[in-house]
């Protein structure tokens, strides 16, 4: 005899340990099945875009660190590219290579956090997350050598990076590069073939590619549905047209696909860093001519970059002053989150947070 159930609405968050920050969902269940989800955000809104209007272009770099604080380097890079386009600054080659190395390291670190917490939400308490945090720690130590900070890097400046890498950075980077493939193998041993992970993730929260495109979702989430869209490949910025890399794809567009795409992307990032190391040459990292106070000519600029979470771009409008007239951030976390409702309806209660974790959002970037 089927049990009679009636819909019940539960408030999840904003202070919920599984919502990856201060995020709130009003979820309606019927028994164990999700029938409606209403995402509510804005709890971490700090007005970064408005604050940017009263700061100089160099000072805004510190704000971008705090948007997606799991991937500060790529945020720096995205903003700097937009400023460079606006002000017509051409960075010297070594600066560009250093920025690419930093950004790819950051991509690995961010994907480690994404997969680690995704598995944590799945119930794999501890082991995978701690293993991934261990490797992330190595990356953060590399960042500390590079720029003295682990999370709020502020490493990049209009025209390049603030300073060349110290001598002890290169051996440490090489050690990391030779060690990391084995670590990724370990994760695959631990997780990819695991029957429980497969049973919990295969075919859960499937979204078809047309819905993803309509919602302008980008990043690993889009590539997990088989669409080959990677801005590093489609609209190369920096020197991404001088390196070769594959774009890992999956076709099933479920939670497992989103996980496996990230794992493969880490391997590709390692390959990109190796190619950067082959091509980098001694030289200046920042042109002498860039003034401390940049006054770009009136105009606007937008450069879309492939961040770990998707397309991140800064739309800057300049009126010729030292601060932008307007700064608008196209944040991948916010846009990827808009599909949450479509993904969750019809799912079970236990998959709620797993799906949420598989999107890989960062509240700092959603609310800015």
């Amino acid at each position: 005899m089927p049990l009679k159930t009636e819909p019940i609405t539960i408030n999840v968050g904003p202070q919920h340990p599984s919502t990856h920050g201060v995020f709130r969902m009003r979820v309606t269940f019927d028994g164990e099945e999700v029938i409606d989800v209403e995402p509510i955000f804005g709890y971490l809104h700090r007005g970064s875009e408005k604050l940017a209007e009263s700061r100089t272009y160099t000072q805004i770099v510190t704000l971008t660190d705090r948007m997606d604080y799991v991937a500060s380097m790529t945020n720096n890079m995205s903003f700097i590219l937009s400023v460079e386009k606006l002000a017509g600054i051409v960075p010297p080659p070594r600066g560009v290579w250093l920025r690419m190395i930093a950004a790819e390291l950051q991509r690995i670190a961010s994907h480690l956090v994404a997969t680690g917490f995704f598995l944590q939400d799945l119930g794999a308490l501890g082991t995978p997350l701690i293993l991934m945090m261990r490797e992330r720690e190595t990356i953060l130590e590399l960042f500390e050598r590079l720029c003295g900070a682990r999370i709020t890097n502020s490493y990049m400046r209009p025209g390049g990076v603030f300073m060349d890498a110290p001598d002890d950075f290169w051996p440490a980077l090489n050690r990391f590069l030779s060690d990391m493939p084995h670590r990724i193998d370990e994760y695959e041993d631990l997780i990819s073939g695991n029957e429980i992970v497969a049973a919990r993730c295969d075919g859960v929260a499937v979204v078809d590619s047309q819905t993803l495109i309509d919602a302008s979702v980008t990043g690993p989430m889009l590539r997990a549905s088989g669409i080959d869209w990677d801005l590093r490949h489609r609209q190369p910025y920096e020197y991404y047209n001088r390196v070769k890399f594959n774009r890992p794809l999956a076709t099933t567009s479920d939670n497992y696909a989103r996980y496996i795409v990230r794992i493969h992307e880490m391997r590709e990032s390692l390959g990109i860093i190796k190619q950067c190391l082959e091509q980098i040459e001694p030289g200046p990292v920042r042109p002498e001519t860039v003034p401390a106070l940049i006054r770009p000519p009136a105009g606007d600029s937008y450069v879309g970059t492939e961040c770990p979470k998707g397309e991140l771009g800064f739309y800057l409008v300049s009126d010729g002053g030292v601060a932008p007239y307007r700064c608008k951030v196209r944040a991948p976390s916010l846009i990827n989150l808009t599909l949450l409702r479509e993904m969750l309806i019809g799912d079970k209660l236990a998959d709620l947070f797993v799906t949420f974790g598989s999107i890989d959002i960062n509240m700092g970037e959603v609310d800015r």
Binding site: E144, G148, T152, P166, G193, E195, A292
Partner: protein
């Protein structure tokens, strides 16, 4: 596919990690065995057992702890700025560059400065580190290498006002500048965690003439000029 193979493989990874070396660093102190305690005390293990049996027993029982200092990179942007009063001209570039505007500088005419001869005397130099985000833009802005990031990080306080670094605090603080944005320090292989840099002349990237030369060039020469005009 044999069901359970993936689980077994995963368990293998867990076991391997369990038996491998530990990655976690204990902080602020860690437990040492009898050999570690002897090494920390600077004597041999038998020496420890015979000379200080209580300590040796404690070590065996696992009560002996030694302090751990985590290793940081030389560029570490730490709390506690390092500031050389004699290098500072009071130009306030740092205060203008700070995104948060938390550096307060009050100057008065007078004083002789390392780089520029006669200069402003610094009356107030306050950095509110309670609001500082350690972006180090102020250090980047300082044209005279007077302000550097520090390398401390243990500055917990009960009172918010105590987080404001005043001129006196900055002068009294040990001079362990971080090498962030200071290529001259990196070239000389200076490490903020091993040594201090008390001599303000070593901290700069500019010329380092002697004080006599500077006094002559900037002060005495000008005095003569003025007396001629008179």
């Amino acid at each position: 596919m044999i069901y359970g193979l993936g689980l077994a493989k995963g368990m293998g990874v867990t076991l391997k990690t369990l038996l491998g070396p530990s990655f976690t660093v204990q902080y602020p102190d860690r437990r040492v065995g009898i050999m570690g305690a002897a090494k920390a005390a600077g004597i041999s293990t038998p020496g420890l057992i015979f000379k200080r049996p209580v300590k040796a027993l404690r070590a065996v029982l696992g009560f002996e702890r030694i302090a751990v200092m985590p290793t940081q990179a030389a560029r570490f942007r730490g709390n506690e700025f390092t500031w050389y009063e004699d290098r500072c001209t009071g130009c306030a570039s740092c205060a203008k560059y700070c995104p948060l505007g938390i550096i307060k500088i009050v100057t008065a005419p007078g004083g002789i400065n390392m780089q520029e001869g006669e200069s402003y005397a610094i009356e107030t130099f306050d950095i509110d580190t309670g609001r500082c985000m350690f972006c180090a833009l102020c250090v980047e802005a300082c044209p005279y290498d007077a302000l550097h990031m520090g390398s401390e990080f243990e500055r917990g306080n009960y009172v918010r006002m105590d987080l404001v670094l005043t001129k006196e605090d900055l002068i009294a603080a040990p001079k362990r500048p971080s090498t962030w944005f200071r290529p001259q320090m990196e070239e000389s292989a200076y490490s903020p965690f091993a040594e201090t840099l008390e001599d303000m002349k070593q901290a700069g990237r500019h010329e380092t003439p002697s004080v006599e030369q500077l006094t002559k060039r900037w002060v005495e020469d000008r005095r003569t000029d003025e007396s001629v005009e008179d």
